[in-house]
């Protein structure tokens, strides 16, 4: 049942991507409304900043719209869009790292201030979320770049192995190897799971 639904969804996406590639602006807007939340979350998981995530999400869709003609297989639209998003995030993080060397204020300090802006009105909720993201970050910091990417795509962006392989342009066995290493490190941090569960309950 779920497989059937997924198949229909994939066909719908491919049809919209086909139409958008032929210049139908409305079709692309439909695709945008379908994926903007997913892309925004994907970017947030990598930048941990609401403002940056929103800006990068905008850039991702603008880039996708401009380069849609270069997409040969519209069945792979989702993976293609995710690839653009992941690449944009990597570019952003690289630039941020470089800029942090030049600035007086530390990156952590800036991030804390930005997180504070996006907290909303509920203070307790904000504290819980802040603590959760701190734990996620400390967990992801233990992983290598590739392990982190594969882990995030698999368990936070909910992509399957095949899709991850397409997004990162790697073989499935390479993805599995990185995922194995990542899980091996994560498993040792079992306390994390218990802690974040308690904090969210």
């Amino acid at each position: 049942m779920a497989t059937e639904k997924n198949k229909n969804m994939s066909l719908e996406i491919a049809a919209l991507a086909d139409s958008a590639r032929d210049g139908n602006r409305w079709s692309f807007q439909e695709l945008m409304s379908m994926f903007q939340e997913d892309i925004y979350r994907l970017v947030y998981y990598r930048t941990f900043s609401q403002m940056d995530a929103e800006d990068i999400t905008q850039e991702v869709f603008v880039q996708a719209y401009r380069k849609l003609k270069s997409l040969n297989d519209t069945q792979k639209f989702r993976a293609w869009l995710y690839t653009i998003a992941v690449n944009r995030c990597n570019d952003f993080l690289r630039k941020k790292k470089y800029l942090s060397l030049l600035r007086m204020r530390s990156v952590q300090e800036q991030e804390f201030m930005e997180e504070g802006k996006g907290m909303g009105n509920n203070y307790n909720d904000s504290i819980v979320k802040k603590r959760f993201w701190e734990q996620v970050r400390s967990l992801l910091d233990k992983l290598s770049v590739m392990e982190r990417e594969v882990f995030t795509l698999r368990f936070m962006d909910h992509r399957n192995i095949n899709e991850i392989a397409v997004i990162l342009d790697k073989s499935e066995s390479t993805v599995k190897t990185h995922l194995y290493r990542a899980l091996n490190k994560v498993r040792k941090d079992a306390v994390f799971f218990q802690e974040f569960r308690e904090s969210m309950s």
């Binding site: 692309f28 947030y44 999400t57 905008q58 603008v62 719209y65 909303g120 368990f155 799971f193």
Partner: protein
């Protein structure tokens, strides 16, 4: 229930099962199907990871920015853009040539009106000095000078200016001397 493979799955095998059960060897896969304990361990790890993903999704602040597409590019704009760069390049080349020739003109040794008038004055001065030297070197005797009744085309005032009297020049000489003394 008798298990196909009595040994439970180790940590590495549990992880492999979480990633993809097909990654396990046939006997281990069979064991996983039959062993509740190993199944529970795999399920627990999967649940934990799923929970992490779910909470991550819930903890993301809402998207507040309205994601929009760039304005649609009109066909005339694209048509314009095809000749605009060529026009720009041609205009640029024209400007470069203009300034190049302008530079050449300014570097050529042409005399300006001021320069030409001053050079004429120099020629006149030279001619005048030549005449004066001739007069000084070949003076007529007083008798002959009186007969000609000519003053060489120069009036007294002019000669006074060219060859001033010592008396008149005294002040300037005195001034020079004073200046030297002051130094």
């Amino acid at each position: 229930m008798k298990l196909h493979n009595q040994a439970h799955l180790n940590g590495e095998q549990i992880i492999r099962a979480v990633i993809d059960e097909k990654e396990l060897a046939g006997a281990d896969r069979q064991h996983l199907l039959e062993c509740q304990l190993c199944n529970k361990k795999v399920a627990w790890f999967k649940d934990e990871l799923q929970e992490l993903g779910k909470n991550a999704g819930l903890s993301v602040p809402p998207l507040t920015k309205n994601i929009t597409l760039p304005r649609e590019e009109r066909t005339p704009v694209s048509h314009k853009s095809s000749w605009l760069p060529s026009f720009g390049v041609a205009a640029m080349a024209g400007l470069v040539l203009f300034f190049y020739f302008l530079g050449m003109e300014s570097m050529s040794p042409r005399l300006t009106p001021f320069q030409s008038s001053s050079s004429e004055a120099l020629v006149e001065d030279e001619y005048l000095m030549e005449k004066i030297f001739q007069m000084v070197e070949n003076p007529l005797s007083d008798e002959l000078y009186e007969i000609t009744g000519d003053n060489g085309g120069f009036d007294e005032e002019f000669l006074q200016f060219v060859v001033p009297d010592i008396q008149e020049d005294f002040q300037s000489e005195n001034f020079i001397q004073g200046g030297i003394n002051q130094c």
